[in-house]
Every structure is written in C-alpha cells, then in structure tokens.
C-alpha cells in the first residue's frame, strides 16, 4: 500500500462523525419485502406466545395475509409505473425497483402463496392419535426413531415453525433478484438459503433421508456461498465498489472519479475474470445448472415434497433473476468473455439433465433432473443478451414455477402405507384408478415436455426464439434435441400411468383439502392460459424486460 493510500484512509477515519447522513429508505417501494419479513417476525412471535393448538391457524392466517398484501403492493408499484418509467434504484443504491424485479417478485409471491397452501395441507397423512398432521416432522429436534419422537407424535405436535421459515425464505428471494449491490446480493442469498436448509430437514416420514438431504444441501450450499463471497471480494478489489452500476462503469472504462486510495489496485482484469466467474458459479449452483447440479436430485428427493415444490419453483425464479441482473447490469461489458462459457454450461445442462433423467426410477428424482434440463433451456434465453431474452426468461419462469408446484403437489397425493409412493413402479395404472389425478399430472408432464397449447411450449418457444435472434442457433438445435430426449421420460410416466395394469397393492390417491386442490388448480389454469392465450403475459414480461442501471 502506498503512502498516499494510508494517508487518505487515516484522514477519512478522522472526519467528524456528525457528517454521516441517515440513509434514505423508500419504504413504500420496498414494501413487498418489508411486509413478508415483518410477517415472518410476527410468525416467530406467534411460535413463542400463542398456545400450541391455535398456532397453526394463526400462522397460516398471517402468512396468507402477508403474501397477499405483498403481492398487492407489487401490483400497486407496477401500476404506478415503477416497472417502466419510474424504475430506479432505491435504498441508497442497494435495491433496484424495476420491471424484472417487480415481475419476478410477483411470480415469487404467487408461487410462495401456492407453495404455502401445500405446506398447510393436513388431510393427506392419516390422523395420528386424534390429531391432523402435515408433511413436517412432529418435533424437529427429536432423534428419528427415538422415544422423544414417539412422544411428540403421540402428543400431536406439529412444526408450525415452517411458516415463518417459509416467509423468511420468500423475503430473501424477493431481495435476491432486486439486489443492486453485491453485499445485498449475498445477504439475500443467505436469507433465502438458510431457511431452506432447515425446511429440507423437516420431513415427517423418511426423516433420515430428509436430514441427509439437508446436510448435503447445506454443505454444498455453504461451499457455493463461500465461492460467491470470494468472488464478491475479488470484484471489490477490481472495481473498488460493490455497487452494480459502479462495477459496470469500471468494466466499461467510463469511470471518472477514481478514489486515489484504490487507483493502484483497481482495474486488474484477473480479479474481474476470476471474481465474476466465482460469483456466477454461486448463482449457477442455486439455479441447478450442470456441473453445479449434484445436490439437486438428492435434495429434491429427500426434502418434504411441499418444500421441494416450493424450492424448485421459487428458488429458481429468484436465482435466475439475480443471474440475469448480474450478467445484464454488471457484466454486459464482459459479454465476449462469459458468453462462450455460458454456452457450454447451457448445452451440458440441457443434455445432461435430459439424458440422466431417463434412467431415474423415483418420481421426485426424475422431476429434479427435469428441472436441471429446464435450467438449461432458461439459460439459452439468458444468453440471448437482449430485451427479448430477458422477457422470454421472465415468461418461462412464471409458467414453469406453477407447473412445478402443481406437479409436486400431485406427488404428495399418491400415497401408500409408507407415506408418499414416489417410486415410479408404484405409479403404474394410476390412470385407471384415479383418472382425474393422472390426467392432471399428465397435463403437467406435457407442459414440461413443451407440447403445444401448454405454457411449457410458449415458454420454450419464447426462449429459443430469443436465442436464435441473438445468433445462438446451435444452442436452439441442442435445445430441441434435448427436448426430444426429455419428452421420452415424461411420456414414459404417462405410459406407466395410463397403459400399465394397476398393481393390486398399489398406492391410493388421498383426497386433499381445498388448499392442495387450489395449488393444483392454479398449476393447471396457468398451464392452459399461458399455453393458449399467452399474449397478455408476454406483454407483461415484455414491458418488464428492461433493467434499471
């Protein structure tokens, strides 16, 4: 460090403390996030003070009201023009309020609401000792198979903490795609991840598997977080700032007012490239892109199915939002460096997910690999680096998230004595036993496969069109081929459900409460509406296609 640098640090520290202004926070524009996090805190208080038997109702009530209010706030902000003309950066440069942020926040909130319905479902598991129970462990702290667990089950405990945990995760997800500096991004990443690690461990049945999944997720997630943080540090070293706008300026070389204290170390391209790569790696981990996908199948399989559905939908939305902002706002000047890498990632993600899914025998693992393949399709849209690319990704995410939650909600219905019957062989002949459930699941699978007249097709068409427009024709061809491969295993499940003879000891389909029905109904409705008349939503996504810088 040069002497001038030491000097300037010294003098900065010696400035009188009165000069620090109170930060200006636009509470109204941040209200969606604030509402959700506030409700999560209320949920913690409910856990502490409300009697056990009324906790469930209080928690569900607070969560539903909060998510609806937050969604209303997003709609109000969007109607006010914050998505388009009034888009700007709030909270002292920490949070962007713009089209993509609001669109994704709306999607996350709706997905969260639908996910909440599946969390709150209490009619699927048989009544235990006179108490209705949900998919979550009676008492998370009790060792699986121990006496204390049995006592907890007998006493009819339920883990109502899942609701505030869910709200905290949603809160983090709301900030994640809106974060406009790297530290906010990291804090949001942790706020969304930590509750998810916990939620993964809370399955009522197959608890060991659930805990194993949580530990794997946590360990790998911690690695990814560390990479992200390291990347942030290197980028700070490169640009002398964690602000997106500032880093972008340094990358473009348009920065004028360089702090003399940092001028010596700034602008080192090695820091930029390594830092950017590490940061993108962390986000690709959350997205579940190959080669950072190893956690996906185990976690999807082990986690309680409502959590899997929520995670598969909302985390993906939030992470892709953050990835888009990072690549479009911070690193557009580096396009020629990251595009080839992302090309490769997209190609191996599409092909890898589709090929490995073929051999799966567990429905949740199958959906996990399918989600990997879908991450690849979305990446094809991300790579387009155009306004169309952004809006096609937004549209895809909106369609995909509801199909995903709906599909996992159907998985929770198919049960045998050991809980959910997730092995594919048990799904044989489901179409004969309960045609409606099988037909609904078939609709979801066809949407995943991208058959026309479903949201999956419209989304896939949008991203591939954007990619082809952006000159990535080979990517489109790989995408089309992996769609064909993927179609094979989706169709295989349909064959199994409709054309195989039902097994005598096969699973039964539980009759759910209106909550799960609502979740599944939302899935079917969005699948068909976005498939047949997508124009309104394409318009919405199109208007939301511009990032504020």
């Amino acid at each position: 460090m040069s002497t001038t640098a030491v000097h300037s640090l010294w003098t900065t520290a010696a400035e009188p403390i009165t000069k620090i202004d109170a930060p200006k926070i636009e509470y109204g524009q941040l209200s969606p996030t604030l509402i959700v996090i506030g409700a999560a805190l209320v949920g913690v208080l409910i856990e502490a003070f409300v009697p056990r038997r009324s906790r469930y109702y209080a928690q569900v009530f607070v969560s539903v009201v909060a998510l609806c209010a937050a969604f209303a706030a997003v709609v109000a902000l969007a109607a006010d023009g914050y998505g388009t003309t009034k888009a700007h950066i709030a909270a002292m440069g920490a949070i962007a309020v713009d089209g993509p942020a609001l669109f994704l926040q709306g999607t996350i909130l709706l997905a969260g609401l639908v996910g909440l319905f599946t969390f709150a479902e209490r009619r699927l598991d048989p009544v235990a000792h006179g108490n209705r129970v949900d998919s979550f462990a009676a008492q998370a702290a009790s060792v699986p198979g121990s006496d204390s667990e049995k006592a907890a089950v007998r006493a009819g405990f339920t883990t109502t903490e899942v609701f505030p945990l869910l709200l905290f995760a949603i809160g983090g997800m709301l900030i994640f795609p809106a974060a406009n500096d790297l530290l906010t991004l990291f804090v949001a990443l942790e706020v969304l991840s930590l509750p998810l690690y916990l939620l993964c461990a809370l399955a009522r049945r197959k608890r060991l598997m659930s805990q194993e999944a949580a530990v794997k997720y946590f360990l790998l997630g911690a690695f990814a977080s560390a990479f992200t943080l390291f990347g942030i540090a290197l980028l700070y070293g490169y640009a002398g700032s964690v602000s997106y706008a500032r880093i972008a300026q340094v990358v473009d070389g348009t920065v004028t007012d360089v702090d003399p204290a940092l001028a010596d170390t700034m602008g080192n391209d090695a820091l930029l490239l390594i830092g950017g790569a590490l940061l993108v790696m962390g986000l690709l981990f959350k997205v579940g892109a190959v080669p950072f996908h190893m956690w996906t199948p185990d976690v999807y399989q082990g986690a309680p199915t409502p959590v899997t559905g929520f995670m598969a939908a909302a985390t993906k939305v939030a992470a892709f939002g953050a990835l888009l902002r990072l690549l479009y706002v911070v690193l557009p000047g580096l396009r020629w460096d990251w595009r080839p890498v992302m090309w490769a990632v997209a190609i191996i993600t599409m092909l890898g997910g589709a090929v490995v899914a073929i051999t799966q025998t567990d429905i949740k693992r199958l959906l996990a690999y399918s989600s990997i393949a879908h991450a690849g399709f979305i990446l094809a849209g991300v790579i387009a680096t155009s306004k169309d690319g952004v809006s096609s990704v937004l549209f895809y995410l909106a369609g995909y998230s509801f199909v995903t939650i709906g599909a996992f909600a159907v998985v929770t219905l198919v049960r045998d004595a050991g809980g959910e019957a997730t092995h594919l062989s048990k799904w044989a002949g489901l179409g004969r036993r309960s045609p409606l459930v099988a037909a609904v699941f078939a609709v979801f699978l066809l949407a995943f496969a991208g058959i026309p007249l479903t949201s999956g097709f419209a989304g896939k068409f949008a991203v591939f069109k954007a990619a082809a427009d952006g000159g990535a024709v080979p990517l489109v061809i790989v995408g089309v081929i992996s769609s064909a491969i993927a179609a094979f295993f989706y169709i295989r499940v349909i064959v199994l459900m409709f054309f195989s003879e039902p097994k005598p000891e096969g699973p039964t389909v539980a009759v759910p409460s209106p909550l799960t029905m609502l979740a599944i109904g939302m899935g079917v409705a969005t699948t068909l509406v976005l498939g047949i008349a997508p124009q309104y939503f394409l318009d919405l996504a199109g208007q939301a296609g511009v990032f504020v810088r």
Binding site: R432, R433, S434, P435, L436, L446, I451, P452, L453, F457, A458, F461, A462, F464, K465, A468, D469, V473, V476, I477, V480, I481, S483, A484, A487, F488, I491, R492, V495, F498, F499, S500, E501, P534, Q535, L538, D539, G542
Partner: protein, 523 residues
C-alpha cells in the same frame, strides 16, 4: 363479420370431444351417439365449406385472420385452397365411419373403477384428432399449423396405446406391452420430427419475421425477402423431416407398421387415412411454397426415397403374415406414390397426388375396416388363421375384395385414376423413376390377391365355419365407402375440378411449368 365457417369446422368436433368426455360413466351409449352426431354435423359443415368454395376464385377462400400471440408474430390465420378443401372433406367424411366402425371397440371388459370411462375417452379422442387435423389443413399461418400438427400426437398416442384389439393371440398382458411400445414409438418418432421442425419454424421467423404463408410468399415474390441458399435448404430440411416422418417416407416409416398393427382397425384408419395425410399435404403446402428453390434442389433425393418407399413397402407387404401389418406396408407404398406425385413438379403429378390422398383415404378405410370386422370375429390378425371365409360370409368377403382391388388400383375404382395421373406426371419429367414405380403396381396386385386368396378362398377352416356375415351396422360403414370408390373411379371430375386450380398455383410458386409434349397430338 361473416360466420367463421372454417373455425366452426374445427371447433365443433373439439367441443364435441369435451362434451363426449363429460358424459357420465353409465351413459356409454349416449356418448357414442353424441360423438356420431357431432361427427355428422361436422361433415355437414365440411360440405358447406365445399359448396361455398369457388374453385376458380381466389387462392385462399373463407379466410379468417385474427391477432393471437403478437409477441411471436402469430396470427390466427385460416384459409382453404382446393387441396385443403378436398382433405377437410375427406377427414369429415371418414370420421363418422370410423366412429361407427369402432362402436364396440372401447366397451369396458370389466366394470373396474366407476371413474374409469374408456368408452367416453375413445370417442372424445377421435373427435379431438379430427378437430386438430381439420385445423392443420386450414391453417395458413406456419405457427398455427405447427401447434396443431404437434398437439394431435397426444390424442393419437392415447388412441394407439389405450385401445387394442379385443382378443389377442398372446393374452392381454403381452398385448398391452406391445401396444404401449407401438404408442411410444409413434410418439417419439413424430415428436422428434416435430421438434426438429420447431427449430426450423423458429429459424423461419428469424429470417422472414413472419409466420404468415401469404406474407412470406409475397415478400419472396417481390424480392423484399431474400433467403440465402444454404439457409433455405436447412429450413426446408427441418420442415421436410417432420413431414417425412408423419407421411411416412422410407427410411422414417418404421413406426407405422407397429402403430397400425396394435391399434384397433378404426384407429389404424384414423392414422393412415387421416393423420398421415397432414404430412403429405404439408409438403405440398409448406415445403413447396415456402422453399421453392430448396424443393427443386431436393427433388432428386426425395424422388429416389419415394420410389424406394413404393417398392420396399410393396415387397414387405408381400411377405407379411399379419393382415394389419400388410395394410400398413401397402400404405407405405402408397405414400411413396403420393410423395412422388408431389415432387414430380408437374400438374398431373400434383393433381394426382392430391386425388391420391383422397382416394387412398377412402380405399384404405374400406379395406382396413372390413379387415377389422374380420379380425374381431376370429380374434386373430394372422393370415394363416383364415381360409374359405367367402363361403361362410360372402358379403364380408365381397367387400374385402373390393377394398383390396381398390388398393391395387383396379381401373374403374377411384385409386386407379390418381395412380395413373401420378405415374403420367412423373414419367413426363423423370421417365426412369416412373418406370421403376410401375413395378409397385405389379407388387400391389400380388400382395392384395394373395391376401384375398389365403383368407377368403380355399377350404373353410373349422374356426371360421361359424363366422357371422357383416351386420347391419358394418354394412352401413362399408357400403357408402364402396359406392364412393366406384363413383370417383368412374367420374373423378368433382374432385379434380376443385384441386386443379390450386395445384396450378402451387406449381407457379415453384416456377415450374409442365414439360412440353414432345409430339403434338394430331388434331
């Protein structure tokens, strides 16, 4: 705004499908009647389209044009030319017969779950296929066409995989396995073709900025849209691949024998007489019109493949032991003729090909449906299990013979006219190809007559001796088809009148004129 006749022709069966599916489980017969009435009403609408269509008028008539998905540049654009009118009419004509022929095919064997309603599903799926086929004939927007071209696979897939012949030589277990194999093969082949086409559809949009057939054609004609030669060829291949799978053209044909063998006879008719026609129709409508230069470039290869289809299909048909498989290979041979006619680029060839699509639909329907009646009586598809049927069931044998003779293009029956036109049209430009294709006719005579001889003549097999003749319902199915075959064989003018102007326009798109006759006929 005038009444959207074309939309109605597709919407009616679509709504009928929903209504049929919603009929309660116990009211099985009501569902059948509902489906039949809907298909007849659709036929009435199709006849209205036929009457309102003016062969000498504008190219696309009864057009409808509405905004649909603006962001993708997609308009809901319908219109029919003579070729489309003929095929819409064929589809609407065949569906009532298919429904009537399959009247008992989906009756549940055992009561099972009260919510399991195969009968309703069967007829609803047939109507759904009809709706999608009709709209893909009518679409003049590439995207609209593509959507329904792909979507029709799903109901078709359930029809093949979900419903099979009642009695099966190897028991229900193996039958179900083979059926789902056939259904999956059908779906994967066609889906792969369709997805390759999707890449080409996106590519077309990137190049042309529009999906509208007329807009793209205009832009090409007045030079505002220029496609690089290699681009045009790649796009052509993407489209052609999907259509060649659907048609099916050798070597992409292998799904068809499986599908037709495992499906019930009415569904097999639905596949080859109706759904596959979308493939050959689309070659004429999309490949030739959108990519004229590439079409000319590909003609030699396509013709060779078509001739291979003709000979290979016919040869394999000769060797089949399974009646339905035999008809399937015969169809592959016939599709070879159709594709040859399309790509011969002469007006006789293309008129013949269009006429061939119509006639092949009717003749295959007649042959296959009678074969289905035969198979349902004996419970076997193997030719060797039959013998002397004409002594026991003369009407059945007689109709089977007429269907067979139509398949081998006997003069006086409809397919003769079209086959003759195709051969003449090909010969004027590609004599060698035309001559080789002629051998297909000889082979057709062989496989049809041998089939008839082995099943219908000779000593009566004991298992066949108690075989009942055609019932009233079955006669009602076959008789009109045979009347049509004879009528169009003697007097094909009503169809050719409609088709010819449209073919002339298609040819002018590819800038091809009929070759001048070498020797002027003496006046």
């Amino acid at each position: 705004m005038s009444f959207p006749l074309l939309t109605a022709t597709a919407a009616l069966p679509a709504l009928g499908a929903v209504a049929t599916a919603a009929v309660p489980a116990a009211q099985r017969t009501a569902a059948k009647w509902l489906a039949l009435l809907v298909s007849l009403a659709t036929l009435a609408l199709a006849v209205t389209v036929l009457v309102r269509f003016d062969p000498d008028g504008e190219r696309y008539q009864l057009t409808e044009n509405h905004a649909w998905i603006r962001d993708f540049g997609v308009r809901y654009e319908l219109g029919v030319d003579g070729i489309a009118v003929a095929l819409v009419a064929l589809t609407a004509l065949l569906i009532p017969f298919i429904i009537l022929a399959g009247w008992h095919d989906a009756d549940p064997l055992e009561t099972g779950s009260r919510r399991w309603r195969p009968t309703q599903g069967f007829f609803a799926l047939i109507l759904a296929v009809e709706a999608m086929v009709v709209i893909s004939f009518e679409a003049t927007d590439v995207f609209v066409f593509y959507i329904f071209f792909e979507a029709m696979l799903i109901p078709m897939y359930f029809l093949i995989g979900g419903f099979g012949d009642r009695a099966h030589a190897h028991g229900e277990e193996t039958a179900a396995t083979q059926r789902s194999y056939a259904a999956v093969k059908f779906l994967l082949y066609n889906l792969a073709g369709g997805l390759i086409m999707l890449a080409a559809v996106i590519g077309l949009y990137v190049v042309a900025g529009s999906f509208s057939l007329s807009e793209i054609a205009d832009a090409r004609a007045n030079g505002t849209l220029h496609m690089a030669t290699s681009t045009e060829r790649w796009l052509f291949l993407g489209f052609f691949f999907a259509f060649a799978v659907k048609a099916p053209l050798w070597p992409l044909h292998t799904w068809l024998p499986n599908a037709m063998q495992e499906a019930t006879a009415p569904v097999a008719v639905l596949i080859t007489a109706v759904v596959d026609k979308v493939g050959t129709f689309a070659m004429l409508r999309f490949c030739l019109q959108l990519f004229p230069e590439a079409s000319k470039w590909a003609t030699p290869v396509v013709l060779v493949l078509a001739v291979i289809s003709i000979i290979y299909g016919a040869l394999l048909a000769v060797g089949q032991r399974d009646i339905k498989r035999l008809v399937a290979y015969a169809s592959i041979s016939h599709f070879g003729f159709i594709i040859m006619g399309v790509f011969a680029m002469t007006s006789q060839g293309q008129s013949g090909a269009t006429l061939y699509m119509v006639n092949h639909g009717i003749s295959t329907a007649a042959l296959m449906l009678v074969a289905g009646f035969l198979i349902s009586r004996r419970g076997s598809r193997l030719i060797a299990d039959y013998g002397g049927v004409q002594k026991v069931a003369p009407v059945l044998a007689g109709t089977f013979l007429i269907g067979g003779l139509a398949t081998l293009s006997l003069p006086g029956l409809a397919p003769f006219v079209s086959e003759f036109l195709v051969l003449v049209g090909t010969f004027t430009r590609y004599p060698v190809i035309g001559i080789i294709a002629t051998f297909g006719i000889v082979l057709a005579a062989l496989y049809t007559l041998v089939l008839y001889q082995r099943t219908m003549t000779g000593p009566v097999k004991p298992e066949v001796s108690a075989m009942p003749d055609l019932r009233a319902r079955e006669v009602l199915v076959v008789a009109p088809l045979i009347v049509l075959l004879i009528f169009l064989g003697v007097y094909p003018k009503p169809v050719t009148n409609i088709v010819d102007p449209a073919v002339k326009q298609t040819l002018s798109d590819v800038h091809k004129k009929d070759p001048r006759p070498e020797v002027e006929a003496a006046k």
